[in-house]
Amino acid sequence: MKLKRLAAVAAATVLALSACGTPLDDPDTPDPGPGTDGGVVPGSAVTVGWNQPFFAYNTDTSNTRATANSIITYMMRSSFNHYNPDLELVPDPSFGTYELLSDDPLVVEYTFADTAKWSDGTPVDAADLLIQWAANGGHLNTIEAADVERDADTNYPVLNGEVYFDTSGVAMALVTQTPEISDDGKTITFTYDEPYADWEIGIDVEVPAHVTAMRALDIDDPQAAKDALVAAINDNDTEALSAISEFWNSGFNYKSLPEDELLYLSSGPYLMTEFREAEYITLKYNPEYEGAHQPSIETITVRWNEDPMSQAQALENGELDLFAPQATADLLAALQNIEFAELHQGIEGVYEHIDLTFDNNGPFDPATYDGDEETALKVRQAFLYAVPREEIVEKLIRPLVPDAEVRHSQLIAPGAPGYDEVVEASGVLEYEQQDIAKAQALLEEAGVSTPIDVRVLFAEGNVRRENEFEIMQPALAEAGFNLINESSPDWGSMLGSGVYDASFFGWQSTSTAVAQSNPTYQTGGVNNLSGYSNPEVDALFDELAITPDADAQLELQKQIEKILVDDAYGLTIFQFPAIAAWNAERITNVAPSPISPTIFYGFWNWEIPSE
């Protein structure tokens, strides 16, 4: 019978084979990793959570200026200086030094250290800054931004032989003269057409010049490529520059690890070794790195997801070691329940402020009182006296950041150099305590009939702002102002339209550049949404923009702040709270900064705790 035979064969096979062991081919033992290099602990690794995936190695084109990119390149590329958590600029002489040779004309000289080199062995030198000048200054562009045709598939500029670097910068636009490079290629000198206040953060190295030229001009030798690039820029060779700008615009954008290794060179402590689209990026210690920021952790992996609660649970489950979620009370509570989580409750670069509208025939516009400046000023002052800033901070911010304070300066972030002096000099402390009686008195003096209707614009659906409004409304009602809720989900596009009398929202600062405030307060500035205009302030800002000396800058800022306070321009309320959380059993020495790169600041100080 068939079955019997089959069964017999089966049984025999079982007997025969059960005698042998079971072979497993798993080479599944953990990889011990390469040997020790410097202070790096072999096998040490941390995983960091972030909300948006990396998408461009060149973080300076008009589309790629995103924190998601710069946090990664921050660990891969050295720079002449960086901000510390106190918002002071710290130079890195192991990469290069810079020096102000002359104030007028403003001449800055950059010299690269011998230890500065790309991970393919090519030194980082003057050519790498020169290409950045060419790109950022835009002096070599042969077409204007508005005339650029863009490819329908990729949105990249289509050049057809024209030169167009898809970016724009303020500092390099002021350097029309082609920078001079020394014979050894280590030093480059920039001469500004006019003095420029923020020269220290005017330029830094972005993408490797030799790679751009090698790929754009099809040259194999790095040095030859670099020479060709310098020659093209010096001779204004349109044909070569067109190819270079085309590659500069698009060649360094990728969303997973590119095949061409030259596209992710490192000049800093970490090398990109793995990059899976929308999942994670892995950086490993760069053994060629000889600079000062020697890290102790061998591998840093950044994983992406925008859901804060899922990041918190991933931290608790050991899948993430460090992350910085958007600060909410629920999340804070969840994080405080995790035994091993260490929390940082600090501030971020965005600050909330309340603006009054000067040019809409509303209660704060002198035009309403037939041009009577004095009356309008008193109404504005009365309004500002009645704003319960302390209460807003106490109820909305301190639950997240216990030591949060009211921000007092329009120009300088709390804790940044000069903040205390400016606050002291401006007289803004008049408004430190809410003073309803004074507000009432001022309104009486002004002789306006109360209650005054004030239309307030803010973000509809933003819980924090809705709470702010709830806190403000009764306090201002007592003083004689009837706040009308004009919140809208489209508030952003309504800013500056004059359909509101007061608004509160956040301004975001990404640096301490003094020039960044000009457009907000100067007459007709792009960010001047309140219609404020004071020739004195305009003049002071113009002067500030061309004052390179830090002390002189501070003096001007004091004067500006004083006028803004005297004019009852508006008030700053608070710095946005920031939370960072990490697994204290897996990582120590985390010191988040208020501005980009936030939690990644000082990654070279991170350590794995000894058990």
């Binding site: 080479p27 999942e279 649970q313 991933a314 489950n317 899948e319 965005v350 990404t510």
Partner: protein, 513 residues
Amino acid sequence: MVMFLIRRLLASTMVVLVSTFIMYLLVDIALDPLESLRLSTDPNVEAQRAARVAMLNLETPVILRYFDWLGGVTGCLWGSCNLGVAWTTSQPVTGLLAGVVATTLQLVTAATFIGMFFGIAVGIISALRQYTGFDYSVTFMSFLFYSLPVFWVAVLLKQWGAIKFNNFLRNPDFPVWFYVLMVFTVSVVAMGMVGGDWITRVKVLGVSSLGTLGVLLYMDLTKWLIDPSMGIVVLALIAVGWAFLVTMLSTGLRDRRSLGGALTVAGVGVALYYPMFYVWVWLPVSWPLVIALGVLAVLVGLLIGRLWGGPDPWRTARTAALTAIPVSSLLFFERLFMTWETYTTHSLIRGRPIATFGRRTPNLEGSFWLETTDLFTHLLLPTITLVLIGYASYTRYTRASTLEVLNQDYIRTARAKGLTERTVVMRHAFRNALIPLASIAPVDVITILGGAVITERIFAWYGMGRMFLDHLAANDIAPVMAYILIAAIFAVVANFVADLCYSILDPRIRLNA
């Protein structure tokens, strides 16, 4: 039929056109591409704004921009697809889609089929036990699951299924309450499912309590959670169990030839226990190979069934082939389980295997088995979430249609002519009860793609749903429209397929009527 096809095709095209047009206008109103520049204090913000307006053609009226977009989309008909560019990341949407569609399919495929399988099974049993405690409990549970918000289920699952479970794995001794709870639940459920008079009930209660207790003791004592491999004896027991179960449902245990075929398949499976380890070493293991081996197993099952023969050889062949599926899966999982300990003790896993984040552990590289284990530990929680929510509706549909069919005259006729209850249920009731599901299942596949939006976000899988959400938040219209376009096309295709299935399965329906 041809007329029907043409009519449907035209109507579907119109639906897609109109819906994308309306959605394009709505999305355009909702998005503000300049938002990120409105609060920027960059000194050259004006130039940036101008550049962005030029880049996105914001000066052009939205209707013209829609036709621009549509022009690119129609290119797909002759193979030059252009779904626009995700301007926030300068990436063509077609490139973006390739990755996310694969991710979403990986996430939802298993969940869809598991949900369907369990939903149908539970629905039928609940219909057969109409108005019993079991039926009421199932109804209650399915409404409960159906109404649970995904994000809430997901957060709870992560808390208990991942974080607490991984903590528990450090010292995996089952507590006494767990024994009591499991034995109680399993035996009561089993009793409810089987039903019958009180003697049967007591028997079922006793057998299932003892069985559960035995399994739990085995898992506890052998530290099964640390090393889940079964060994040849346990595997043989399970394989034989499957053989009986499949035969019972497929042809009934009285069909001795079918039972023989099924048991032979189980025997072959057990015999292959050791040889398979060599096979896994010799062959370059990959998913296509695993699937090919599965198909081979089914073919072998068919062959074995044919060899057993009998008056109706295909019945035997079918039973044997069906048995081959669980038996070959057992062999696959046994090999996978052998990697479990290597996996959990890996330096990147550190004894916390159940994952809550992403579709794989970063930088984990190893054999096919290690990476597959990793995939499964990442799939586990999102799959449970999707199954819990998806399965409930299948239960309701199946229960309703089974009840309807059971009240038909032909069922009474079948019973009257003396057919066994198994034949009545499996052959006459079950097949006809499935017909209405043919119109639900394809549509459900679409809704699960939509429902996965939240699941993907919470479990950090970058699929269709997250592409949609992320770009919606970033004011980037092209990927949002791609999602809407695909959803619209799937929706009309699914409805179309549903109609076709229906007409094929139910001869009473004619399409050109």
